[in-house]
């Protein structure tokens, strides 16, 4: 318990410092937020005209897609704000031997790494996503409660996936592009109706690249209040975190701290 309190105290300090550091280069702060909002708006405009023209497609109508989009954008935004290192930086830190910095401290390594960078601009995603979700949510307390839980679970799955992608650098060396690609691809898939995909694609998108759990499943959970969906999501979040921790600490044994480059050959 004492241990946990110390860890929490430390992470709070880390956040404060992150925020101060992010404020130091806020030059393009507003234009970045604007960019995020514009980006999302355009995608939604596309979907509006799409459903306007074709009506329902595989069980999805505009409100369904909006809910999916709102949840995915919020969850992704939250992970980028709070655990900013998972998007491409983690692979860089590992490949370039920057993990040394974290390794000499008496703190939980993984927590220290992922919480050590904060992006400010995804606030745009979070605001946009929440407005969208609130707009289309059934106005019942249960739905709002499930929305909050769904977003948190989705964010947990994204960060676990980011850790797995970043940890590839332990095994492949320069995996920065690949890890960024993996997260980006998952996000892309998560923004489309899950019912579009069948067969093998469906299996892949619920296991190896759990994109359905970022948008489609939580959106359905909020809409239908089906508790089975909640169970599935909790299970998915737990499993992805077990995998993330195992792969990260498994990879750590192979960490080379950039030394191989310096050794005379």
């Amino acid at each position: 318990m004492n241990n946990l309190r110390a860890e929490w105290h430390f992470i709070k300090g880390l956040f404060a410092l992150n925020l101060a550091s992010a404020m130091e280069y806020r030059a393009s702060f507003w234009s970045q937020i604007f960019g995020m909002v514009l980006n999302n708006t355009i995608m939604l405009v596309f979907w509006f005209f799409f459903f306007d023209r074709f009506g329902a497609v595989r069980g999805y109508e505009f409100p369904d897609l909006s809910m999916l989009y709102g949840i995915a954008a919020t969850a992704f935004g939250l992970t980028m704000i709070l655990t900013g290192n998972i998007y491409s930086f983690m692979a860089y830190i590992i490949a370039q031997g920057r993990l040394d910095y974290y390794l000499v401290f008496p703190r939980n390594l993984l927590a220290h790494v992922i919480f050590s960078r904060m992006h400010i601009s995804p606030i745009g995603d979070v605001i946009f996503g929440l407005v969208l979700a609130f707009w289309f949510i059934p106005k019942t307390p249960a739905a709002f409660g499930l929305l909050a839980i769904g977003i948190i679970l989705a964010a947990l799955i994204i960060s676990a996936y980011g850790i797995i992608a970043g940890s590839l650098a332990f095994f492949w060396g320069n995996a920065q592009n690949a890890s960024q690609q993996m997260l980006g691809t998952m996000l892309t898939f998560s923004l489309y109706p899950d019912t579009l995909f069948r067969g093998a694609a469906r299996v892949l998108l619920t296991t190896v690249m759990p994109a359905f759990f970022i948008g489609a499943v939580p959106a359905r959970l909020v809409k239908t209040t089906e508790w089975a969906n909640l169970g599935v999501m909790v299970l998915a979040a737990a499993l992805s975190w077990i995998a993330a921790v195992a792969i990260f600490y498994g990879g750590l044994r192979r960490y080379e701290s950039g030394s191989a480059i310096n050794v005379n050959s």
Binding site: R107, E256, S257, A260
Partner: protein, 329 residues
């Protein structure tokens, strides 16, 4: 109790080999040739608490790899080590409360923020109580003379100022051992001396064990009584600094630039003239036969000079000499 105990430490790295050219790229893509490289092998030594050790060797000799294994950053391939009774790669977090480390080329301070902010974070990281933190901080501010630097964003500090803050930051939790990897690289003479003085003060005050790597013979001479030299991953010398000096660091090289033209061949007793130009000379002498002071005095007596620079022989020469003398570690 020994602060550090190392027995047969070994570390190998796997290196992907690529033959040059496009064809080589393709081949290494499908059938990578992996070569195993030994960075450190059979390193054994022990260090008493309060000792100051210089751990030196040429680039790529295995110094950093050894430090990284002792600080828990790297897993060794074979061998054993304990630091303050902990096995670094197994009890990394427990050990981390009691050791400090400074890697000259890997900054710990947050770049965009003043050092004081990082100090605060470190207080949380090491779970220091407020009184202890403030007391130690004030001591370090005094020792490193960084009071006026604490509230300036780190990116605006000079290299020397930054390094003083770096070292101070890594001492906030009063570590019992401090690992310093090239702490004075690229610094000016004044900053180097301030850092050396502060480290010595720390050792006297707290009996802190110092493990230092450096390319600067000045660091080694002014701080450490004991030297280990490592080359190609193996220890080739482990003895007192005074012995190293007496046996191998005896030669000094002096560069002089005079204010006037040299017309005749330059010659001093006990001193060999390596090179002579129109305005300058390069001299070499044995510091055991004649002192540096005497030589400079002699030079001053000949004619006025504009610049003078005394150097130790490069480490590579010392190592060659150790091999030639058949010295066994």
């Amino acid at each position: 109790m020994n602060a550090i105990e190392v027995n047969g430490l070994e570390k190998n790295f796997q290196l992907k080999k690529k033959t040059p050219g496009l064809r080589g790229s393709f081949r290494s893509l499908f059938r990578p040739q992996i070569e195993e490289i030994t960075a450190v092998s059979d390193v054994s030594f022990s260090l008493k608490e309060g000792e100051m050790l210089a751990f030196i060797g040429p680039n790529g000799a295995g110094k950093s790899t050894t430090i990284k294994m002792l600080t828990g950053i790297l897993f060794p391939t074979a061998g054993e080590a304990t630091v303050l009774g902990f096995t670094p790669w197994k009890e990394r977090r427990l050990m981390a409360y009691h050791i400090g480390s400074v890697f000259g080329q890997k900054p710990q301070l947050w770049y965009h923020l003043p050092a004081a902010d990082t100090f605060q974070l470190f207080a949380r990281i090491y779970e220091l109580d407020d009184a202890a933190f403030k007391k130690q901080r004030d001591f370090l501010v005094e020792a490193f003379q960084i009071g006026h630097l604490l509230h300036i964003p780190v990116r605006k500090l000079s290299l020397g100022q930054r390094m003083k803050c770096e070292i101070a930051a890594s001492l906030l939790h009063r570590p019992r051992i401090i690992f310093l990897d090239e702490p004075t690289i690229g610094l000016d003479v004044v900053a180097k001396q301030q850092i050396r003085r502060a480290i010595r003060a720390l050792n006297e005050e707290d009996n802190t064990t110092i493990f230092l790597t450096s390319h600067d013979a000045g660091d080694i001479e002014s701080l450490c009584k004991r030297v280990i030299i490592i080359n190609h991953g193996r220890m080739i010398f482990d003895n007192r600094t005074s012995i190293l000096k007496r046996q191998y660091l005896t030669k000094k090289v002096i560069d002089v630039r005079f204010g006037e033209r040299l017309d005749s061949p330059f010659h001093l007793p006990h001193v060999e003239t390596l090179k002579q130009g129109t305005y300058g000379v390069k001299l070499e002498f044995d510091a055991q036969a004649v002192s540096v002071e005497q030589v400079i005095q002699q030079i001053m007596n000949t004619r006025p000079f504009n610049d003078i620079n005394v150097q130790d022989p490069p480490l590579e020469d010392v190592i060659r000499e150790i091999y030639q003398n058949g010295h066994e570690p």
